[in-house]
Symmetry: C2
Subunit: 359 residues, 2 copies
């Protein structure tokens, strides 16, 4: 029997088995998170790139708007940075200056950083007593996992292979999000050296294999857009779904209006997996920036250096309404997103469709 109220609803203390993905880059507004939570799902703050003080403010604002549990998503990458790669900064700079010339990008705008205030971010989550922490690109370090457990904070980790799921389970994670290659945005692959383009197992294949090999609850991510997707995920053995792209198109999402329009207008054929924006593989709608960087023949720098290097281009593109130079993260279910609906309506419609399918 397939039922919509799965054990994960009790584990996370939510009404419906629906997680709004913790997408970084400003899309997960306080309003989106709070409305998802108030509608019975789990909202997630995408804090992967946020400054600690901004995270603190967002958490306090969320708590003003909902008394339901919410999650904060952290990036836990431990990608090796080869010193030889550092030597290639000048060639990457050349490509970016040339590509960004329409936007007025100059050499001094291209910055290369590796610093990442991970510990400071985590400290905020502890101090502000967030109910749930979710991670991408890896799991929390052992001491931080212990700190979270001690405070009864639930931990969710996103994986792209069975092996990663087993690593997460052994580390004490409460819930696994299995991210199929259908998903938009960054691949959550832990070891980027082993899988330079990400581990790209389709959602349909990944979910049941992860479910079969761990004992903790599994949530399906990648291509879930409606009630059909929820029921299929449950049939594959998942206890719920995580949706990113669908909520990117919501009324409350903080993405650029042209990006939102691109989501409504694109089809399943138009996304590619690229490392050109951040140095880590991510799925988005193909545009001029991706093509020009590919055509240059210069490989992108490792994450997070490439991300800082492309930051000024992405910011200027947004300011100047130049969609061809923004990162347009999106999954493969694009034909199911047509218009800007409120998050609450997205959740209600989805649950209604699922109930109808189950009869």
């Amino acid at each position: 029997m397939i039922t919509l109220h799965t054990p994960i609803c009790d584990v996370l203390n939510i009404k419906y088995p629906i997680i709004q993905a913790g997408m970084a880059g400003g899309s997960t507004t306080v309003e989106l998170i709070a409305n998802v939570c108030n509608a019975g799902g789990l909202g997630t703050l995408g804090a992967g790139y946020m400054m600690p003080d901004d995270i603190r403010k967002a958490i306090r604002d969320i708590k003003q708007q909902t008394d339901r549990p919410f999650a904060v998503n952290m990036f836990c990458a431990k990608d090796p940075i080869n010193p030889n790669e550092k030597k290639r900064e000048h060639e990457v700079k050349d490509v970016l200056v040339s590509t960004g010339k329409h936007l007025g990008i100059k050499e001094e705008d291209i910055q290369f950083h590796t610093s990442d205030p991970f510990d400071e971010r985590f400290q905020v989550l502890i101090e502000e007593e967030v109910p749930i922490i979710s991670t991408a690109f890896g799991i929390l370090p052992a001491d931080k996992m212990e700190a979270a457990k001690k405070r009864n904070i639930k931990v969710i980790s996103m994986v792209t292979t069975v092996k990663e799921a087993m690593i997460a389970e052994r580390a004490g994670v409460d819930v696994i999000v299995a991210q199929g290659s259908d998903a938009g945005g960054h691949r959550s692959t832990f070891d980027i050296k082993e899988h330079p383009q990400g581990a790209n197992i389709g959602t349909f294949s990944l979910i049941p294999q992860v479910v079969e090999n761990v004992k903790i609850p599994v949530v399906a991510a990648g291509g879930v857009m409606n009630g059909r997707g929820l029921v299929a995920a449950l049939a594959l053995g998942a206890q719920g779904v995580q949706m990113g792209t669908k909520f990117l198109g919501s009324k409350e999402s903080g993405i650029h209006p042209l990006y939102k329009k691109a989501l409504f207008d694109s089809t399943e054929e138009q996304t590619v997996i690229t490392k050109n924006f951040s140095g880590r593989p991510a799925r988005g709608i193909k545009n001029t920036f991706i093509e020009e960087f590919d055509d240059s023949g210069v490989p992108p720098l490792p994450y997070p250096i490439q991300n800082t290097a492309t930051s000024s281009i992405r910011k200027e593109a947004s300011k100047q309404n130049q969609i061809e130079y923004m990162s347009l993260w999106a999954g493969q279910g694009l034909r199911f997103i047509h218009q800007e609906n409120p998050a609450e309506m997205i959740i209600k419609e989805l649950m209604g469709e699922a109930e109808k399918i189950l009869g």
Copy 2:
């Protein structure tokens, strides 16, 4: 309500909504096809590379062993062959001679052909009155579609995008197989110039988008390995499933014993999409041949030239039990295939699991 007896069972006159994929290369033995049909599924002869007389013999043998309907699969590629590509034959030959030296491959063993007895194959299907024709890489030409229709032969076409599904529907196809990127073997993408690596939409995302955009029945392919997969496919809106990898591992499958063992021993992480064997993108277990050809930096020739060029290496590899030089087509659900079961047991177990999930 999800029910296991879908309209497609009546369209194709089968008991269960399960199609055994028409894999080329000798895996679909007469015994496999007949046993699938007798167990209530639809068996398919993979005739893509077969000589017309061999097809005729196989059809007659199948009819001896079952009175149930069966299908014959045809390759309908219309890939453009650029004359400049022809000039690269010598560099491909160099790579193949070097890669094949362990197998005793010499220059004269590497052959380049483009001829394909498509019309002669089709003529056999008409003369022998096969009940169902299925196609990959494209649809039947209009005159052949008409000839099939006139004789009440049902036509199934495998697609990888919504656009291809709409082309197939307009051409009069009876049933669409939507092949997600999870699938093993060749991508069925029609226009290889538009999608040089195949259109790789995950099964989970592709199925509901195809279902939403055509009126004819859709069958899900790519990563279906068990009852969970069947129920999930039905939830996504499909009327049935097509399975390749699962039947490759069956007792009746005609693949090399070491290939079969590789299916049992591999995981979801070990497949890649490669054009190195045939010139068309196909998913298989990564081995030395794929790696060495990649490392050469020489692009494979177009299909079917690359296929004829690698033929002697594949044949010798099989004779000499050298698994590192065989084509090991496989989908992404590999952890669900452990041992050699008869086709009938595969179908019975799958239907039993599906019934249990539906309660």
